[in-house]
Amino acid sequence: MNLLSIVLFLPLIGFFVVLFTPRQSKAPFYTALLATVATFLLSLGLLAPATANGAQFSSVINALWTDVPGLQIHLHLGVDGISVWLVLLTTLLLPIGVWISDSMIRERHKTFFALLLLFEFGLLGVFTALDLFVFYVFWEIALVPMYIMVGSWGRGMRGPVAVKFFVYTMLGSVLMLGSILYLHSITGTFDYVDIMSGLNSGSFTLRPAQQMVLFLGFFAAFAVKVPIFPLHTWLPNTYTQAPAPATFLLAAVMSKMGVYGLLRFSLTLTAAGAHSAARWVSVLAIIGIIYGALLALVQTNIKRLIAYSSISHLGFIVLGIFSFRQQGADGAVYQMLAHGISTGALFVLAGYLEQRRGSLEISDFGGVANVAPGLSTAFMIALLASVGLPALCNFVGEFLLLQGAALAKFSWAAWAAIGVILSAAYMLWMYQRTFLGKLNTQIGEFADLRARDWAPLLPLIALMVWLGIYTQSFLPAISSATSHLLEQTNMNNQYQVLANPVRPEVADVR
């Protein structure tokens, strides 16, 4: 048995086991916790082979799924120096999601835990798929449980909000499906590795016009998921109405699906398309950075504020990816992890605040530090990590991203840097109104964090520091993968510019 297949299918097995646990008991919780923790521990085993040579895919699964003439689909999965980190991020954050759900989800636990496990299965598939068809399948599998979680356990106008989330995402992803089908009609395969080697050997070429069409199809799906301005309108409502554990997972891991897709597929398969689109995509990313930050500044709801800050932060990642520079790509991967951890922590803490106060309006708080010093301190650390304080995780990511952007075009980095300044402003202002000053007299009982509340936070805080200081434990593997990826991007891009196969003898052999 391949380790990756165990890591991938363990959550699915957990899903079925949870379905058969008794409803009125703790059994669903313990089953889900056991499954997710075991998945995490096992996934650590993927690290060594994947980082030994970050550019190669390791732990590869390649099994035939359907063998119909004209429709050969392989269940082809593997991890390299980029995806292994996202797999670990997912497997780490899922047990935390399960843990906080235990206290934050008040009814129908069983279904919720089952959906969490299905969601993990989908996400792991997205981050490891090496076949475009399989990628699409997992992409949608991850969507369905999240939709049900938002719609069933959310607050307020959860139904319409969840439907908007689903339909919006689906509109993007069907266009991606169109691109996948189009690519298949040109190349005759869905396999990413095969397509890449075909492109590299020149056995088929994609004309710039074709690449542009393909790029736009993929981009539609990824841009909605990231989200890139102006496709972000589903996000604030979804994040705000979703139950706390779902918001946590949406922001911390699900938002990485889009940027991962851009980096993995858009940049390599449609290199020329990505290059010619880079200008306007970067402009949209910068608009997103500043627009998200400005809107965050005027929010009165903590969750909504963090949601808009997420739009801003993800704009940086997109900007870095479309700089086509080593630093930008490294920074993108690094920031995916950093953002997952810091924003994840912020949403966990927001969940605690909501649990204690029943609301997340900033005006309902004030002076919380007086009664809950532990919660306030933890919030401060996560917040400082999020705004990019040196020695904490986001600093490294943002630094690399801005460096990459500056190398591509200095004015872009300059504009984007405004977002860094604004992020300090809105975050600290929110902190001041929520935690500092005199205690809001309407706050009655307000318990500080208990040990069980700290449990999910401590690993996150530790990682914030680790990622902020010991960059060497992460960067080499990331760099070797991203440099390989950029090499392919440049090569494919140059091929397209030359518009003929560089090694014709290979094409002849075929």
């Binding site: 359907t66 689903f166 499906l177 009609s185």
Partner: protein
């Protein structure tokens, strides 16, 4: 054709499923006449199920001796066997659906099951017809039984309306079809599908007139499969008929009519492809758009599924527009998965509806997730399959249809179709919102667990949908290989 018009034993073998079903239909009517008034009529449903099972085996037996029968009137090939099998499964699922429904409505009779079997006979004939005369006969057998089924609950106003609309528009369509057949006969001197092709291939006759004849036939079929602009009857009929009948009408007759539509156009009218492809292209586009956008506004589940069935007919037409072997295979797979998911959805709805179908609004499904979590989860599977979410049959069907379209360079049709399927998610999700995200209402108060027969039907459909979605290989290879032999 040979001069010997006396049927051989092999002819009867190839026609065996139809014979079996007809015999069982008649036996059910006789048994009912002999039964005492107090006897339980539901046992006749069991007889019907048995008849369908025997016919299914007969179909497999017939398939092992492929070829033409009755001087080329019918032909048993992979394609015909596939659709015969499909309509037989549809029939069996609908019998299972009806058992508890008719008990609840206190209208349990043998007549219902006999009519259902006769309708399936007509569909089997359609699946294997190789001559326009057989097409007409099959369509009539199937339709006349369906008209009566649509109005089966005769004291119900909506049932009457449904049956009358279905009958009037259906006969109107048949007239078009017959007129088209007459033109074709005048033009080519034959009603045999293969011979028509041979004559058209020679190019002796005017392609304009042949094209008009093809258009007349298309209008006739378009009515039956509810293609825009001939769709107006569908929502009214599906809403008005009893739920198990609606399920049947949207799956069986539709699949059979599509089967013969593909056969006529891909065999006889293949030489005219350049003429009819744009007609089909336009109809496919309109059908998807009209079906989906009209469904967005519905509050009645049955009516919404009626419009959704129009939209799905549009997707199948996309496969016809592709006019390739892969298109045929895609349509076969699509119709099979559509039949399963739609019957499943209608089965759950007929379960919620209660006596006299009081609860058929989307809001009446509210809270099903709390009251009957298992049934709700199965309904969710059907709905996600109708949307086209991966790991369900609906997804693979759509995927394959659009792949066929793209391979035939129908780029715009593919793009618009894909966007349509995302828009469709909006109205299907209303069902999910109702069952999982709303509090139970009046409809949930007296909801008893589903009857065993209904549960079997729902589970069987759901398993079918999932198997087609996770392991599509078997059915797809079957469809692909029979499409490859399509002549």
């Amino acid at each position: 054709m040979s001069g010997n018009y006396l049927p051989q034993a092999i002819d009867y073998l190839r026609f065996l499923p139809e014979i079996v079903l007809s015999v069982f239909g008649i036996v059910i009517m006789l048994l009912e006449a002999l039964m005492r008034a107090s006897a339980r009529r539901a046992s006749l449903g069991g007889v019907a199920l048995f008849g369908l099972a025997v016919a299914f085996l007969a179909n497999l037996w017939a398939a092992s001796n492929p070829g033409a029968a009755f001087s080329g009137m019918i032909v048993v090939d992979g394609y015909g066997t596939f659709f015969r099998g499909l309509v037989l499964v549809v029939g069996a699922l609908c019998v299972l659906n009806s058992l508890s429904y008719l008990d609840r409505e206190k209208s349990q009779t043998g007549e219902f099951y006999a009519l259902l079997l006769f309708s399936v006979v007509g569909q089997c004939v359609l699946a294997t017809a190789a001559d326009l005369i057989m097409v007409f006969i099959g369509l009539e057998i199937s339709s006349i039984a369906s008209y009566i089924l649509a109005g089966y609950l005769r004291d119900d106003r909506r049932n009457n309306e449904s049956a009358l609309k279905y009958f009037l528009l259906g006969s109107f369509a048949t007239a078009f079809l017959l007129y088209g057949i007459a033109w074709i006969y005048g033009l080519t001197g034959s009603t045999n599908l293969a011979q028509i092709r041979t004559v058209l291939d020679q190019g002796a006759s005017s392609t304009l007139v042949a094209g008009l004849a093809a258009a007349l036939l298309f209008v006739g079929f378009a009515f039956k499969v509810s293609v825009v602009p001939f769709q107006i009857w569908a929502p009214d009929v599906y809403q008005g008929a009893a739920s198990p009948v609606s399920a049947f009408l949207s799956a069986g007759p539709k699949a059979a009519a599509f089967a013969i539509l593909f056969r006529v156009f891909m065999v006889s009218f293949r030489p005219l492809n350049a003429r009819w492809i744009w007609l089909v292209w336009g109809c496919a586009l309109l059908t998807m758009i009209v079906g989906n956008f009209a469904a967005l506004l519905q509050t009645n589940v049955k009516r919404m599924l009626g419009y959704s069935s129009i939209a799905h007919a549009g997707y199948v037409l996309v496969a016809l527009a592709a006019s390739s072997q892969i298109g045929i295979a895609a349509a076969m797979f699509y119709l099979a998965s559509y039949a399963l998911m739609n019957i499943g959805a209608f089965a759950v709805i007929s379960y919620i509806a209660a006596r006299n179908e009081r609860f058929v609004k989307i809001d009446d499904l509210a809270g099903l997730g709390r009251r009957e979590p298992v049934t709700a989860a199965l309904l969710a599977i059907f709905v996600f399959s109708l949307i086209g979410v991966p790991l369900t049959g609906g997804f693979f069907g759509k995927f394959y249809v659009f792949q066929a379209a793209l391979n035939s360079h129908l780029v715009w049709l593919t793009v618009i179709g894909l966007i349509n399927s995302a828009i469709a998610a909006y109205y299907y999700l209303k069902i999910i919102v109702a069952i999982y995200m709303k509090e139970p209402g009046e409809s949930m108060e007296h909801l008893a667990p589903p009857a065993l027969s209904l549960r079997i039907a729902i589970w069987a459909s759901a398993l079918g949908v999932l198997i087609l979605g996770i392991f599509p290989g078997t059915l797809l290879s079957m469809a692909t290989s029979s499409a490859a032999l399509f002549r």
